[in-house]
Subunit: 219 residues, 2 copies
DNA sequence: TGATTTTGCCCGAATTTTCGGACAACCAGA
DNA sequence: TCTGGTTGTCCGAAAATTCGGGCAAAATCA
């Protein structure tokens, strides 16, 4: 029949129902006492601070699906908060960055928002206000991540174009279910067969039909 | 002989891609000049103000999937902002309410947040800050609505719980596809068969197996 | 290394599905 | 009432699928 398509396909989705935890806050602040003080405030609020002393130290934590937000000082010796902002937006445009500006530095604050910061806070900042703001940002982030997650799930679920034949659609569904089972069982055919409720040989029959090999599903 | 209709999708799929517009702001403020002033600020920011002079006038706009947020004064002659908050949270717990407090009334502001307000603003509020805050709230609201929308979509697509047998899952899928085709063809078995790419008799076989009758799918 | 498990494939019989053909019953319009 | 189209069911042969058993090669483990 058809060649074993090199479809990389289904990933191991953490199931739609489960809640995404999103409470990390990367703190970028060169002033050590202030940094630890902020970190403490966050821990008291049940958040998960990741304190760093500057851009260089922070950048390895900043990645595309990071489950949290960034809180960065804007004036630092080595880099500016805007560098953080650019870097973060490049990694993930929907990753909220909250910038700490100097007292009453309205023009810079405006510039921050225009550059894509999620929010700014004036430097001598009461902990409660800080936490409130971060919680809103984290909530926002959580929604964004959930959204991506569900969309990904949707894509794997509705692949039939309407012009497909009943047989084609069913074959496609069957192939996906088999692939999913194989992934979940780490490429173990026997266990996948068991979880699908069919005998081992039958699963091999179907796999052969679709050109699937167990090896390709190993972690 | 009519062609099988050029069906674009498996169902009329409110298209996951399309963007939800969410820029309405219900303004609840008894002071008329201030109210219109706020409304103007919002219009300048490309938002869609719905000005009301109080809770009574506003409550009919507040409903479960409202595509916007609420901005309410906290001190009003007939009702308090907290009444608005309670009402809104009852209609939809994820509908953001932003409360306008008097100048430096921190305790009330705290109480507002604890009661579930999305954010509070101090009364003599610069338009830019107001608009920024509202935009964040609207963004949040948009995400919530998108989320609901996609989840609903996913539920209609996700046919089998993981514990189902391969055969059971495929049968279920087959039944759904057949029902879908019958619905789209208004219960005409012949046309449904054509759109599914199988002969009429085969479709009858399958329908019999599932206990389906065409009559039940007529409009 | 040797023992054990797993893979991937083939056989063959039992079962299921496919699908053309046929037919009675029903309904709607002329 | 006649007529054309549809529904729902049955038959039967061809085709496909299921699934137990078996086996050689590969992988894994001790």
């Amino acid at each position: 029949m058809s060649q074993p398509k090199p479809r990389c396909g289904i990933q191991n989705h953490p199931s739609v129902g489960d809640v995404i935890v999103c409470q990390k806050v990367i703190i970028i602040e060169d002033d050590t006492p202030l940094r630890t003080s902020i970190a403490q405030s966050l821990e008291l609020a049940n958040l998960e601070p990741i304190p760093t002393n500057g851009f260089t130290q922070a950048r390895r934590s900043i990645r595309s699906n990071f489950a949290g937000v960034i809180l960065s000082d804007i004036q630092m010796p080595d880099h500016s908060g805007f560098d953080v902002l650019d870097f973060a937006r490049n990694k993930d445009p929907e990753l909220p960055v909250i910038l700490l500006t100097g007292h009453s530095d309205v023009p810079t604050a405006m510039k921050a928002l225009k550059s894509g910061a999620y929010e700014y806070l004036e430097k001598p900042c009461e902990p409660t206000r800080l936490v409130e703001t971060l919680k809103r940002a984290l909530d926002h982030r959580k929604l964004v991540l959930e959204n991506r997650h569900i969309r990904a799930e949707l894509e794997t679920q509705l692949p039939f174009d309407g012009s497909a034949t009943l047989h084609e659609a069913l074959e496609e569904t069957e192939r996906r279910l088999i692939e999913k089972a194989l992934i979940e069982e780490n490429g173990k055919v026997i266990e996948a067969a068991q979880s699908l409720g069919i005998p081992r040989n039958t699963l091999y029959d179907r796999m052969a039909k679709f050109g699937l090999v167990a090896k390709a599903f190993r972690r």
